[in-house]
């Protein structure tokens, strides 16, 4: 079918709206409706990826209008991969988090699914579009729906976190919009490919430079690159499980994708690395981000919050790799988009399971968890190893490429930061494991600490997905050579 690219975005959109209608008609139907939408979307994304691998990039004119007037979807290997990632994670999460959503959001759950699907629609649209202004609109859809979802979380702190998120998010979006404005002023076009052609050769133009800086700054704020990260930890920590599970792996990764898209497709490698010479400064910034994220994570008492700071650190990985200015670094960054999405997803799935059973996840609440929730902890341990970078989990291999890229460039500080970050993560996670392993969970004094623990696992639907995603980390690690050779290297040529 020719319309797969449209279906990827339209399916979750339509079903999201439908589900909203069904809240008044038949509440119970809204969940299967959104689930179907995401399923169709995920299948179409896989179809598109297969087609792109087979026969090269796809251009899809929305509504039959030709670019540069109409909006164009342009799908190459990179965004085909990200599309699969987004729709796949969204679909799996909806299954895994259904019970938890009912528990946390209660009555409002059925109308919540509408917001959820709109959010996913936004992420998918951002990834698929080939139009700079359309990108802005979709970023805003994504952001607005996330503000709403954050606010639905923790009754005391959710709204405040959301407000904070709104303020900074709006600033980021305005920066980006302003940048797009400058580009439009200079070129008269909003189509990415078109703009790229039009600004070629205008190396010295201060308009283009301003546009570039504004766009990148805007995206950095949205992606929570240190020091623009302050909104992220609270927003992700106090949001409902179903949302934090999907936003943590996807949001920042999609923003990194946009950054790479702007760098490669719109402004061009040559402009950034040979004209502006920004690489060195940004790699230093990324180095600091990697370390700062890790150090701040060390200070956290809440498990979920600790993980959010790890995300801040991981953003540094990808930004550093992308700005390294060589193929190895970019390979590492793109591979890390994929790997980090998977492993963050696995981590948050496991944490979601814990929240389902023990509600509060301060690290001290996790006593005896290995006995109580062995399967969840198994998944958590695997995901943690991937973050630390233990082979054969996938986290190791992207780190491998990133460090190689840094060595090739001579950016030893970045390589060192990645190693130190691995060590910090090892400390972080083993601190958690120690509490889960050594301290007995039973509060009564009569219980023998060596007695068989009572297993109180999360529901099967949550466990199965969490387990599968954790195992997929190993599979993805073993096949990272394949991912690099069929997707990333052909994309970078």
């Amino acid at each position: 079918m020719e319309n797969y690219p449209a279906l990827i975005v339209v399916a979750p959109f339509i079903t999201g709206l439908l589900a909203g209608l069904f809240v008044w008609i038949e509440k119970r139907l809204s969940y299967p409706i959104v689930l179907t939408g995401l399923f169709v979307s995920a299948l179409s994304a896989i179809q598109v990826l297969i087609r792109v691998i087979g026969s090269g990039p796809i251009q899809y004119k929305l509504g039959g209008w030709s670019p540069p007037i109409g909006i164009e979807y342009r799908i190459d290997l990179l965004n085909a991969m990200v599309l699969c990632l987004v729709s796949g994670v969204a679909f799996l999460n909806l299954i895994a988090s259904y019970k938890s959503a009912l528990k946390e959001i209660g009555d409002r759950a059925s109308s919540y699914f509408t917001v959820y699907n709109l959010f996913i629609t936004g992420l998918l649209g951002v990834t698929i579009t080939g139009d700079l202004f359309n990108l802005y609109v979709l970023i805003e859809i994504t952001s607005l729906t996330s503000y709403a979802q954050v606010a639905m979380g923790d009754r005391d702190r959710g709204p405040l976190a959301s407000l904070n998120y709104i303020f900074i998010g709006v600033i980021g979006a305005s920066f980006y919009l302003l940048g797009v404005g400058y580009l439009y002023m200079y070129t008269g076009s909003l189509n990415m490919a078109d703009v790229a052609v039009l600004i070629k050769g205008s190396q010295g133009s201060s308009t283009v430079l301003t546009a570039f800086i504004l766009c990148i700054l805007g995206i950095w704020i949205k992606m929570a690159l240190f020091p623009f990260h302050v909104w992220l930890p609270n927003a992700y920590t106090y949001s409902p499980v179903i949302f934090s599970r999907v936003v943590a792996p996807l949001m920042t990764k999609v923003m990194v994708y946009i950054m790479i898209r702007l760098m490669i497709t719109v402004f061009g490698y040559d402009y950034i690395f040979n004209t502006l010479h920004l690489s060195e400064a940004v790699v230093w910034l990324a180095t600091i981000a990697v370390l700062a994220g890790g150090v701040m994570a060390l200070a956290q008492k809440n498990l979920k919050k600790m993980l959010t700071y790890i995300i801040v650190s991981e953003i540094g990985y990808m930004v550093g790799g992308a700005w390294m200015g060589n193929q190895l670094g970019m390979t590492g960054a793109i591979l890390h988009i994929f790997n980090d999405a998977l492993m963050t997803f696995a981590l948050f799935l496991a944490v979601g399971n814990m929240v389902y059973r023990i509600e509060k996840v301060d690290i001290t609440d996790l006593k005896g968890l290995f006995g109580k929730m062995p399967w969840t902890m198994g998944g958590f341990v695997l995901a943690a190893f991937s973050i630390i970078g233990v082979p054969p989990t996938c986290g190791f291999f992207s780190k491998w490429y990133l460090i190689l890229g840094a060595l090739e460039k001579g950016a030893y500080h970045f390589a060192a930061a990645l190693i130190v970050s691995s060590l910090i993560c090892a400390v972080l996670f083993f601190k958690v494991f120690e509490i889960c392993f050594f301290e007995s969970g039973s509060h009564g004094h009569e219980h023998s600490s060596h007695g068989p623990a009572v297993i109180e696992e999360a529901p099967v639907s949550m466990l199965v997905i969490s387990g599968l995603v954790s195992l997929s980390l190993i599979v993805a690690g073993c096949y990272s050579g394949t991912i690099v050779n069929t997707i990333i290297l052909p994309f970078l040529k």
Binding site: E408, A426, F430, E434, S449, C478, Y479, S480, G481, V484
Partner: protein, 493 residues
Amino acid sequence: METIISIKPLLAVLVSLLVIPVLVSSSDKPNVRESWTFIAGIIKFLIVLSMLPAVLSQKQIVLTLFKIAPGADIAFRVDALGMLFALVASSLYIITSMYSIGYMRGLNEHGQTRFVSFFALAISATIGAAFSANLLTLYLFYEVLSLATYPLVTHHQDENSRISGRKYLVFILGTSIGLVLPAMIYCYHATGTLEFASGGIFSGQLSKPAATVLLLMFVFGFAKAGIMPVHSWLPAAMVAPTPVSALLHAVAVVKVGAFSIVRVITGIFGVDFLLSFHLGSLVAAIASITIIVSSCIALTQDEFKRRLAYSTIGQLSYIILGVALLSPKGMTGGMLHIAMHAFGKITLFFCAGAIFVATGKKYISQMVGIGKRMPLTMIAFLIGSMSIIGLPPTGGFISKWYLVLGTLEGDQMIMLFVLLSSSLLNAAYFMPIFYKAFFCTKEESMFEDKIEEAPMMCVIPLLITALISFGLFFFPQPFLDLAKLAVKGFIGG
């Protein structure tokens, strides 16, 4: 050299991995569980054994699992050195499994299923390390082994084991991530390959200072080999149940460390390269210091297992010393010592465990007169300690003989002196135990004059290993041939 592509190395690794779910599912039927452990152990040993003829006829068995990057795949290659190590580890695994039954049931330990499962995982990783074709694969299994051993070390789940576990992680994981990982990536960056090659992978990319730093990063980074000052995790790890100390901290884990260093010296740097920079003597000097200092510390230890641990630290450095001599005889001796020390030291640990099970005694000062109560155990102890000292008629004599010849061959009189004085020290810390066990007056004896050995399952294994130690003096062929073949490959190739 002829190569055969075969799935056998993978099977050898997978057998004990695949049996883990079975072990877990039969956790409430200990006898069934233990039978599965045996079946898996025996199959593993037979698979390893079935590759021996091919290796002895100078063929290599290879298998590439996953292509990660050019020159760095996840791949197996069975050569003489790997075969030697795998034979030792897989045969002793069977004996240790038997011993664990006696020990764990004798002490009524908790969490036995967890124990046997992680034991199986650890032995899988050990065989994987033995058969690794390149540094990446070796690193992979090295890390898996570190992590699989952690729950074994901290098995008792009390404060003491928490502290030891932390020490274990800091030293093992800290050095492997902090030193080996960057060194490995640097090697790949400089040469584009990590494949173990008989002449090393460097051809002029390294200056002497760089080579020195890199070599030291590897030597100290593989902290499992217990080179001072990264040795102190090993005495701490003695809080583990004795089967763990016996198989893992006398054979598998520590020898994976020594084995890795040997691999790096022979396969990454190459003998000629190190000779040209005179770097062998640097490593030999570090090993010598470790030998002497650890033997002196062993003299002062009253806790039986700790004394054995310090003895192990010294003996591991024999392996490193032998290989670092870079002379054919010395290298043969070093590699042979992997096997000879394994059988001797595991006997000693089995004795320590048997005494603990039978009498609850952990300190040497409490073992006066124990020979009258546990004569079989103490006679096995005599044979084991003779092998460690290097006295005929035990296997330890053969490896020490070659080591001494190696020092003479290289005209390294200081090393000769180190070896000889270490033998005296070994005698000084082992012989008094044996002497006091049998030769004491009635008043001095702390035990009644009645023979009461540990459970059969504890005694039989230690008699078997003692017998093997004894037999290896007369029939060292399989190991000696393998060591000679390996040396021929590294020097002649």
